[in-house]
């Protein structure tokens, strides 16, 4: 059992009691909700005549179904309009704050929480969305839950949960040119497997993690779930505090910053903390990683050969064969040169300002390949606004990208932004599952945002380092 880790400490601070099942009842410090997974939970509350217990610790936004082109109401798609109306009704009746599109604060829930300062170190944060692990970048204990659990949190402010083990992932060394946080997490998942993290929470540590900005840390924690770990976190440090100080909450409540800092410091993992497992990764060895298959664990360095299924562990062979058939790739080849039809720059993994800035550096002065449909979907209205002020929109549009409004968009194809037929997509998102981007024959290649930009320009999976001298992030 782990001892003295951030996870242990935050758990203890939030534990209400041990339930008869042996699970702990944990207090939830921040409950984020969106339109897809919450309406049924509100329905359950109504059936049971229960009210929202902690509305002030609950925050809503709309992201999954919102159109990113024409957002005028009612939405063109009836189902989307119905979901939005239901959310509006629920937050109004319960008195829950809502970052709606009229507020200028709307966006993907995992972009909105951090940028408003709702996400803070040492909080327990839940949302009906598996990428809630993102918020762990701030040293919060954050994880995704299902709709019945949303009902529990709404009704009681708490959740029944079993304590997990802690695996420290120590990433030493320095990331090379063109290599990003996204590559680190894709590498981790390919090494440990998509179920390697089941039963664990991941603590990301080491020089390469500490030198990342908050956005990079968020990209890493975001995809913890793709490795099977329900939560991942980074210990808070000066980088975290500097980021927090600029957020709405601490701008409006500056005294809170000094007041809470000792708590944040106190929940950092101790020097002599004990872990259930430790894995080491050398950042110097990494290159840009791309996926060749249909799980996020099927990733390789851009210059590495696609593995032969028979060379993989026995339980991975069948999945690999089906994946290679779907993707139409051959063992022994690299992914470089794989033709793409769509380039998608967006999602809760990689649609924050630095992601767009880095991609824009690659795009500037170049043109999107004539066979490629390329779109940028900023993670939030604020990201969008700042990016537009900085001229990024012009850079992308001049190159031939579509510049859209904020939302989840083509990461999961719940709005109009979907792959068609067997289109192949270079995507900065988090999942390459069959059908994920809206077409069951669609093919997704996951990669970092600059690699998406490079693919958009060349029309094929390309090593961004060959395209332009780029700097380390």
């Amino acid at each position: 059992m782990s001892r003295g880790t951030l996870y242990d400490k935050v758990w203890d601070h939030h534990k209400v009691t041990t339930l008869p099942t042996g699970q702990d009842q944990l207090f939830v410090g921040l409950h984020l909700i969106h339109e897809v997974t919450s309406p049924q939970a509100f329905g359950m509350l109504r059936e049971r005549d229960l009210e929202v217990a902690y509305p002030e610790l609950t925050h809503a936004t709309v992201d999954h179904i919102i159109p990113t082109a024409d957002q005028s109401r009612p939405y063109e798609e009836e189902a989307a309009e119905e979901m939005m109306s239901e959310l509006e009704r629920n937050v109004r009746e319960a008195g829950i704050e809502f970052s709606d599109p009229n507020s200028g604060d709307q966006g993907i829930v995992h972009v909105v929480g951090p940028e408003q300062g709702l996400t803070q170190p040492g909080k327990t944060i839940v949302c009906g969305d598996s990428h809630t692990s993102t918020h762990g970048a701030f040293g919060a204990l954050a994880f995704g839950i299902g709709t019945s659990q949303i009902r529990d949190v709404l009704a009681t402010g708490t959740l029944a949960f079993e304590k997990q083990k802690v695996r420290k992932i120590q990433v030493d060394g320095e990331l090379g040119d063109g290599v990003e946080a996204k590559d680190v997490i894709l590498e981790i998942i390919s090494r440990l497997g998509t179920e390697g993290g089941v039963g664990y929470v991941y603590e990301y540590a080491g020089e390469a993690i500490e030198s990342l900005g908050m956005e990079g840390r968020m990209s890493i924690c975001n995809m913890s779930i793709e490795g099977g770990a329900r939560a991942g976190y980074v210990n808070p440090d000066e980088t975290t505090y500097e980021w927090l100080e600029e957020t709405d909450y601490f701008q409006e409540n500056p005294e809170k910053f000094e007041e809470l800092k000792p708590y944040w410091e106190s929940i950092r993992s101790d020097e002599d903390a004990e872990y259930d497992d430790i894995v080491r990764i050398d950042a110097d060895e990494l290159e840009p990683v791309v996926t060749w298959g249909t799980t996020p664990g099927q990733g390789i360095g851009i210059s590495d050969p696609i593995p032969a299924p028979e060379d993989l562990a026995e339980d991975k062979q069948d999945t690999a064969r089906r994946a290679q058939e779907h993707m139409r790739v051959e063992p022994g080849e690299t992914m470089e040169g794989y033709d793409i039809d769509v380039a998608f720059l967006g999602s809760c993994t990689n649609a924050r300002l630095p992601d767009l800035r880095r991609a824009a550096e690659i795009v500037e002065g170049r043109e999107v390949h004539e066979d490629v449909r390329a779109l940028v979907v900023p993670g939030s209205q604020r990201v969008q606004e700042t990016a537009e002020k900085e001229g990024l929109k012009d850079v992308f549009e001049d190159a031939g990208f579509e510049w859209r409004n904020a939302g989840c968009s083509m990461c999961l194809g719940m709005n109009e932004d979907q792959l068609e037929g067997d289109e192949a997509c270079a995507s900065s998102s988090n999942r390459n599952f069959v059908g994920r981007q809206g077409s069951k024959d669609g093919r997704t290649v996951l990669m970092n945002p600059r690699m998406v930009a490079a693919a958009a320009i060349t029309g094929e999976v390309s090593d961004v380092r060959d395209l332009k001298e780029v700097t380390t992030v």
């Binding site: 339930l19 099942t21 329905g43 189902a79 009681t156 999942r431």
Partner: protein
């Protein structure tokens, strides 16, 4: 507070039985169990018909080979799966769709955590056994689509044909199912004052966010 409304009857689930249905393959993700386009709904009603939709139907909505399409499995309620079943998103729509199709219990090599938690919240056991045992079970189910298998949650066994095999049920899951506390809302609501105390002790929770004692 009117407490009778909290008193939702939660059945004890100490066993599950029915004929089986094999769903083969590792890493079957939630997008395959229920594609996102079917989640544009505000209730879970009617999701059953969309379970495994893209694996069951082609672009012309013609049936493909899939156990969920086979006549012999239409009354099945115990699904037998391989490893990392239900990986991916947290959508409860996935177990809801399976449940509404008719699945009451799942036996597999391993399950993604959020998926297993969502199943538990619906009273659906997710029990595990090693790879070899699961393959044998899948073959048996294939050959005996009308015969019942029985999961004894408390004893952690599955009985089929003349065989009784050991399976694993997570401790908390077993207790929750057997004692009928898998729906935790009322149970946790009964600790309201302790919850308030925990909130008051947390430095970041503002007093105004904590509801008045009832």
């Amino acid at each position: 507070m009117t407490s009778e409304t909290d008193e939702v009857e939660i059945p004890e689930v100490d066993s599950a039985s029915g004929s089986g249905i094999p769903i083969r393959g590792n890493d079957i993700d939630t997008d395959q169990i229920i594609p996102a386009r079917f989640m544009k709904v505000v209730t879970f009603d009617g999701l059953g018909e969309f379970a495994f939709f893209d694996l069951r139907f082609d672009e012309n909505d013609d049936q493909k080979d899939h156990p969920f399409n086979e006549d012999r499995f239409q009354d099945s309620s115990v699904m037998v799966v391989n490893s990392n079943f239900g990986c991916g998103s947290s959508r409860e729509h996935a177990p809801q769709a399976l449940m509404r199709w008719g699945i009451d219990a799942i036996i597999g090599e391993s399950f993604a955590e959020i998926f297993a938690g969502n199943c538990l919240a619906l009273g659906i056991p997710t029990v595990t056994a090693d790879s070899e045992t699961i393959q044998e079970l899948q073959e048996w189910v294939d050959e005996h689509p009308d015969e019942e298998l029985e999961i004894d949650i408390e004893a952690e066994t599955v009985t089929y044909g003349d065989e009784t095999i050991d399976v694993t049920v997570d401790d908390a899951q077993r207790k929750a199912l057997v004692e009928g506390v898998w729906d935790t809302t009322a149970l946790m609501k009964s600790n309201t004052s302790a919850v308030r105390q925990t909130a008051e002790d947390l430095p970041y929770v503002e007093d105004a966010a904590i509801p008045e004692a009832e």
